[in-house]
């Protein structure tokens, strides 16, 4: 840590007033980190002379509670009174370290630095009081926003100590004392969400709510096919709409599309409604280009053609071919998960002003530093001349990691000379998403005498996220392979995982839990199929497949295992922990107590993702073809849990998100055009379709904290279809369930 002089307010922007004690650790951003994946985040904390503790939330709030929870961690170590903490949202700036709020990273990467920041400030306050009283520092202890000297009964508030504390040398990491777990005031217990009142009163400010003085509103018509070029347009009717000012074109992107604006024709108007009405009146002709060949049914067939042939080996144990050649009981199955859209309730939205070669924007972004770079590229300025304010995000799920819509606002502002607000309609959001990849999986196993597999082959084919950054990329990268494919945690003597190529025809991107979704669906469905083929109880069988407690290192058997950027030493693939969540979910769900069948059944699935172990038991009722999910039991081992209620909330939400994927999620294309457009034809689970009750069972652990936002999603879909099988005998291998007629 370095001491920041009191006068250097510019260092921290507008957040602190003069005279504040400010601590900062300006370290390298993620892009500057070494190849070993290690990186040092930064933390900012300040105390005002009136005692107000200001904590900077540098991650984006999209519903996880992170805007509260990380500051809470620092406040705990600081011994701050939560009622006297103010949270300020950071703008995009490399000085904060990584701000890309994705990958369930925030707690696991910033828990320790936030503790250290709080403990450092506490130490300096204690030393300041000791100096003032002439007492040994060890006798001066911070307690609930004051430093207390018990022997003499003296105490001073944090605010009174600010100027003196700022003069103290900054202790090194070795000199600070972190609290022991029994001293935690908030960690492991929780505090109310800082935005709770605002979110219940309509005062929360989301991207769609952002306004700048003098701004105009834009609605953009884009090519219905990815990469289509504008042939001609007629805006005469659009300009007759009351409130419409003008139309402006945005140049098409140059491949690869990355986060660039797609291009199109924008209608600029006095309000959102007029802009949207004007856009409807545009007559635009497109040259659709190469992706007009995209047709979902034919594409699915081509994925399975690839999946049925040998492909690139990404992990190999033993020799599956030799085992298959022996004959015996062989099972094969095809699994399919279609394209999925994010469909967050708040569509992409941003307001931007280009003025004097600089851009100021307010955006609902997961990644304000990517906004800086993307906007800078789009309007030809330096990224340091882009100021990105981060609003609340009305859901994001990975969509708002890609700031194409912010680039649109900046480009339009440069062209019209005013601040421009871009609000995507729901139809645009569904039709121009960065979709979760469609995937085909082929699975094959040979069962031994005891019904357990002696050989296991798995092959996945999907258009990779890499195609967003390199238009010719067709194979999954190490990250996608890490996500539930090269780490299949089964004790099988012969096991091979493969990945085949697929060409993209739409923009492919991250969606909550990413490649784990389709990989877990195939692996956990197939495990259930083998259990039934062996005449075994699915939970017993699953535990047998996982095998004895051990730590798995898949790397020597295949390609690079990324382990979500962390070492296997810190975050092992620990089958003991995997078994424990299976056993816990099964026990709490009452597994085995009621005979399945006659429209009632339980399904189990387990998956490790984002370094967290989650097992799910789903209870399903099927009556006259109608599905009900009365109960979900989710057991989670995410290491140390910092805010139990928000962890529960994330898993309750993941149960619903996973239910939407399983039951309804399907985006399809014809002639390269997405067919769906709104919640009518792209349904997501409503209150009566979601699990009636999700019970979350948290494994107590003092292991390093792991991810929470995403890991609840992957096991949901297979647990649901496994439960449907238990209830009806119908095996669903292609999602979504809504396309299948249930008995």
């Amino acid at each position: 840590m370095t001491r920041v002089e009191l006068s250097r307010r510019s260092f921290l922007g507008h957040v602190f007033s003069a005279g504040a004690l400010v601590l900062g650790t300006p370290l390298a951003p993620r892009e500057a980190q070494g190849a070993d994946g290690k990186w040092q985040p930064s933390v900012y904390l300040g105390i005002e002379p009136d005692g107000t503790v200001i904590l900077v939330a540098h991650r984006s709030e999209m519903g996880t509670g992170i805007r509260t929870v990380l500051p809470m961690v620092a406040a705990d170590e600081l011994e701050a009174d939560w009622k006297r903490v103010r949270i300020e949202q950071a703008i995009g700036d490399v000085k904060y370290g990584d701000q890309s709020t994705d990958g369930s990273y925030s707690i696991r990467e910033f828990y320790q630095p936030f503790r250290e920041a709080g403990a450092t400030a506490r130490s300096m306050l204690e030393h300041a009081a000791a100096a003032k009283w002439g007492a040994p520092p060890a006798e001066c202890r911070a307690r609930n926003h004051r430093v207390v000297h018990e022997k003499s009964g003296r105490s001073l508030g944090f605010g009174e100590l600010v100027s003196l504390a700022a003069q103290q040398p900054v202790p090194g990491k070795d000199a600070i004392r972190l609290k022991s777990a029994d001293e935690f005031r908030y960690i492991g217990k929780g505090v109310p969400m800082t935005d709770l009142d605002d979110l219940c009163s309509g005062r929360g400010q989301f991207g769609i709510d952002a306004k700048m003085p003098g701004m105009v509103y834009a609605s953009i018509e884009r090519s219905p096919v990815l990469g289509g070029k504008l042939r001609s347009y007629d805006d005469s009717e659009a300009r007759k709409v009351a409130g419409v000012r003008q139309t402006v074109t945005i140049d098409p992107f140059k491949p690869p599309h990355e986060f660039q604006a797609l291009g199109g024709v924008a209608v600029i108007a006095d309000n959102t409604w007029a802009a949207m009405q004007g856009r409807r009146k545009l007559k635009v002709e497109w040259d659709p280009g190469e992706h007009a060949i995209y047709e979902s049914e034919a594409y699915k067939r081509s994925l399975f053609e690839t999946a049925h042939k040998p492909q690139k080996v990404v992990r190999n144990i033993g020799d599956v071919d030799a085992e298959f050649a022996k004959g015996g009981k062989i099972l094969e199955a095809d699994y399919y998960v279609p394209l999925l859209a994010h469909a967050s309730m708040e569509p992409p939205a941003a307001v931007a002003e280009f003025k004097n070669g600089k851009v100021i924007t307010w955006a609902n972004t997961q990644n304000p530093q990517a906004v800086q770079q993307t906007v800078a590229n789009a309007v030809g300025i330096d990224k340091n001349d882009v100021t990105c304010h981060v609003t609340l995000l009305g859901g994001a799920f990975g969509r708002k990691s890609k700031p194409d819509y912010v680039a649109e606002a900046a480009i339009l502002s440069k062209k019209v000379g005013k601040p421009v607000k871009v609000t995507w309609s729901r139809e645009e959001d569904i039709r121009f998403d960065y979709y979760h990849a469609v995937a085909a999986m082929y699975m094959k196993a040979a069962l031994g005498r005891n019904g357990r597999p002696v050989a296991w082959l798995q092959r996945s084919v999907f258009p990779p996220i890499g195609s967003t950054f390199n238009a010719s990329e067709t194979y999954g990268d190490a990250g996608e392979m890490t996500m539930g494919w090269v780490d299949t945690p089964f004790d099988v003597a012969n096991l091979r995982a493969e990945n085949g190529p697929a060409q993209h025809h739409v923009r492919i991107g991250w969606l909550r839990s990413v490649a784990n979704i389709y990989h877990a669906f195939a692996v956990q469905s197939f495990a259930d199929e083998l259990a039934h083929a062996a005449g075994a109880d699915p939970v017993e069988y699953l535990l047998g497949l996982i095998g004895a407690p051990r730590k798995i290192d898949p790397q020597p058997q295949g390609i690079k295992y990324e382990n979500y950027g962390r070492s296997l030493g810190d975050y092992p693939i620990d089958t003991a922990r995997l078994r424990r969540v299976v056993e816990l979910a099964a026990e709490r769900s009452g597994w085995g107590k009621k005979k399945p069948g006659a429209g009632h059944g339980l399904g189990i699935a387990v998956h490790r993702s984002f370094l967290t172990f989650v097992a799910v038991v789903v209870e399903v009722e099927v009556d006259k073809g109608q599905i009900r999910i009365p109960r979900v039991d989710m057991a989670l081992d995410a290491g140390r849990v910092v805010h139990p209620d928000r962890v529960k909330a994330q898993l309750e939400g993941a149960a619903v998100f996973g239910t939407s994927i399983a039951r309804f999620g399907e985006i399809t294309a014809t002639d390269g055009r997405i067919k769906q457009s709104n919640y009518g034809d792209y349904p997501v689970a409503r209150i009566h379709e979601a699990p009636y009750e999700t019970r979350v069972h948290i494994v107590e652990s003092d292991a390093l904290p792991a991810g929470v936002g995403e890991p609840g999603v992957p096991p949901m879909a297979p647990a649901i279809t496994n439960a449907i099988f238990a209830a009806t005998g119908q095996r669903i291998r292609e999602l979504p369930v809504k396309n299948h007629k249930l008995a």
């Binding site: 009163s201 509103y217 009351a242 609340l392 919640y679």
Partner: protein, 173 residues
């Protein structure tokens, strides 16, 4: 049984006719407002863009997600498919006008249960729940599901929404 949410008011198909200008008078959160412009503009955009009442959210533009729910003469209504001509002369209440200190029993229950995740849909959820409790002060879980199924929450807070409505019902009773 027809779910209650399909009965919420709102006009569809009015989008075709635009261009005219009308004078519309309406009451928003107790204040009389005058609007001069396209009478086909949905109430949603009038509230958000012209009156700066941004607590009411856009979600779908066709009355199927519930994020834009307000009260018109006390009834839960989708403001994204309610034109200003339909709203003329009516009494509109938005989330901002529900209770002076945002302390309506339903809002208090929402906070006590910590319902919101991202929070974007919650204005609409709360307005719908308030209307439900006016009609059915002691709803069953089934009645809650019927009344609330027009309001999507993509974060998946439904379980807590049900809990909060039951809590508010206990408090109000």
């Amino acid at each position: 049984m027809v779910p209650m949410w399909t009965l919420v008011r709102g006009q569809r198909g009015a989008h075709a006719a635009t261009g005219g200008t009308d004078m519309v008078q309406l009451t928003v959160n107790g204040k009389t407002e005058q609007y001069e412009g396209d009478p086909q503009m949905p109430l949603l955009w009038y509230l958000r863009d012209l009156l700066d009442l941004t607590g009411t959210k856009y979600g779908c533009g066709m009355g199927i997600c519930g994020a834009c729910t307000v009260h018109i003469n006390g009834a839960a209504t989708r403001s994204c498919v309610t034109t200003l001509s339909d709203a003329a002369g009516k009494r509109i209440t938005t989330i901002e006008g529900l209770a002076a200190n945002a302390d309506h029993p339903v809002q208090n229950a929402w906070k006590a249960v910590s319902v919101p995740q991202c929070g974007y849909c919650q204005s609409g959820q709360i307005m719908q729940a308030v209307a439900l409790l006016r009609e059915k002060p002691k709803p069953t879980d089934h009645e809650i599901d019927e009344a609330m199924q027009g309001n999507i929450c993509r974060c998946g807070t439904y379980q807590r929404i049900r809990q909060a409505i039951q809590m508010a019902a206990r408090v109000k009773a």
